[in-house]
Symmetry: C3
Subunit: 270 residues, 3 copies
């Protein structure tokens, strides 16, 4: 399957994407998911989250503002997702020293997320290899998070995606890197968080979570490149990014460099 056919699959299915995400980025995340062609729904309360996760195509759990209600709703949703076979994404925002999200992230790891996505500091902290970033920003490079990402992939059977100037996606037996994108994504709140919803939408439309995660990153990067060329700053970039996601096609996606490596880290590092 090519990335372009993957995007087509998401759009044809209008993948029902269940998002339990932080209060800062709910609107942008929904708009990104809609622009992609999927159908987002933010069902984040106890007593409803589980039922919805059963019928959704994919689920995002983002720990950015984990109120007690959301923490309980996330556990309810993930438990239901597991039972129903709904693929689910963990985005451990600012994990490290903040206690509620850190405890919850480790509890969720044990439930074996389909995909884990984060910035390098988050992946390093989640793997127990470091203490986390500076607020919600990374303090580490993508390269420095490789061992942590591998460790998470092996221990929990997850696909692990590390975001940066070059994204790296690692599954227990495969890896890929995705280039392109735009640094302006780091100047728009939800630039990373909304990618979690996009990954959930792709996972809800394709059988293979690794391929879905790679395709999600490549599509996101293609739209970001297109948007950057049409913007004058972070405000107009966010607007152009939504326009671009709704229009992105083969021409843009094929310009994104995607490299697959079906080997171990040691060899990649050569």
């Amino acid at each position: 399957m090519t990335i372009c056919t993957a995007v087509q699959a998401v759009r044809e299915r209008a993948a029902l994407t269940h998002c339990i995400t932080n209060s800062v980025v709910t609107g942008f995340t929904a708009n990104v998911t809609l622009a992609l062609g999927a159908s987002p729904a933010m069902v984040d309360i106890v007593g409803e989250a589980g039922d919805f996760a059963r019928v959704a195509d994919g689920l995002l759990t983002n720990l950015g503002t984990p109120t007690p209600e959301q923490r309980a709703a996330i556990l309810e949703a993930v438990t239901a997702a597991q039972e129903a076979g709904t693929p689910w994404v963990l985005d451990p925002v600012a994990v490290g020293s903040l206690k509620h999200r850190t405890a919850l992230a480790h509890q969720l790891l044990e439930l074996r997320p389909t995909v884990i996505r984060g910035n390098p500091s988050e992946i390093i902290a989640l793997a127990g290899f470091g203490v986390g970033g500076r607020g919600v920003d990374t303090a580490d490079s993508v390269g420095s998070a490789m061992a942590a990402a591998e460790s998470l992939a092996e221990r929990f059977g997850s696909t692990v995606a590390v975001s940066g100037p070059m994204d790296v996606i690692i599954a227990p037996d495969r890896r890929a890197s995705v280039g392109g994108g735009s640094a302006l994504l780091t100047k728009v709140t939800g630039g990373g968080c909304a990618l979690g919803a996009v990954i959930a939408a792709f996972c809800g439309s394709l059988a293979d979570p690794f391929e879905a995660t790679v395709a999600a990153h490549a599509t996101y990067s293609a739209a970001a490149e297109l948007a950057e060329s049409r913007s004058q700053g972070p405000g107009s970039f966010a607007v152009a990014f939504l326009d671009a996601l709704s229009a992105v096609g083969p021409e843009q996606i094929e310009s994104i460099s995607v490299d697959y490596v079906n080997t171990r880290t040691e060899e990649l590092a050569r």
Copy 2:
């Protein structure tokens, strides 16, 4: 009263519009209400919501992310609105199988909303004629929701508005259809939810809820048409829609088709 004079009334009054709405669309809803020329306030906690509903011109209750705090605040606000004579709108987002919102929606129905607005699947589910849509999207056509809308209007004395390519507004003794608009509204989160706030603002400025609801839909459609002509996708559409709402006047509004039928459904169906 013409629709243009209705818009003028909302702007002159700067209708104080009390919104208790879902966490995904709060910002967009406030911006839409401001762009219209009204004054939104999101007072959604227990102990404040009732007091505010007493002084507001109109109240929106939207069930999109009904936390326990919001559920209690909505009941407090609606009770106060009834006592004070504040018109109030019920938007039963994704009602059907999700249990908390569905139970609350039925409880609110008994309090006789001034206006009920939703997509066809929501209106059908609320009336007990079906099970609801797919996530927050409709699975039914406007036409198929007519009997449900009539039933709600008769049982609860409400004006019932069903959104779609052609909107239909039904009161116990009257009905109207409003054309125009833009399909891009379904690609912007809050495109439907913010209409609930606009209806509340109009109801807070005009004496007749049916006329207010028709005028709200026509104004919204006129702004959406204008915005679509100036946009390249859902991102730029949302921006242009706010600009258009703040500028919309007689020229745009008169281009929207509004048909009144002062008869029963059976005749309309001819």
Copy 3:
């Protein structure tokens, strides 16, 4: 220090700006803070807010939608900020008659905020000189809030900023007025609230809260003027404002009128 070097200090530090703010404006506030060049983080739950306030450069507490969780988190954060020496801003949105926010605002006053910012009605109500505005809008002029602002500055040792067509910033021993800006800021939700985060970012980067608050207002006004010249309404203004904040430099800032008065009100009033 000039205002331009102050802006540079915020950007070089990428001031870690802890925001506990209302649910309507979280996204816009984060985007404004990012566009400025600071690093926002919305940590608003009990058990995390205190720990984060200790490491943040500045803290904003905004009372716009004060859920029970947020009310407790705000007290936790402010207590920690005081212990750690983190400067903190109080924005008492719609204080006056709504009971939870009003009680909390008075409790926070006793903890002596570094900066208090609000519209005239909020400042008047907070000082006990009046009953508050109309919803979240002011019902009073900046001039009529001078005595209230002075009273707050003297009693609590705070810098007090009153927003309006001409902003006034009052410290116990100094005052300044800042011109420029755009009325469109009042047509974008969070136009005032996000300024609170900008003040917190400046306070986290400069030693003197009065100078920081003046610089924050001047920078904000400069960006707003630039944005207004590039917009067609409130939607495009909000987008252009983010672009402008990220680009604003000496040329725009020097065009903003800033007048310092190192005297008492009586003399200013001459």
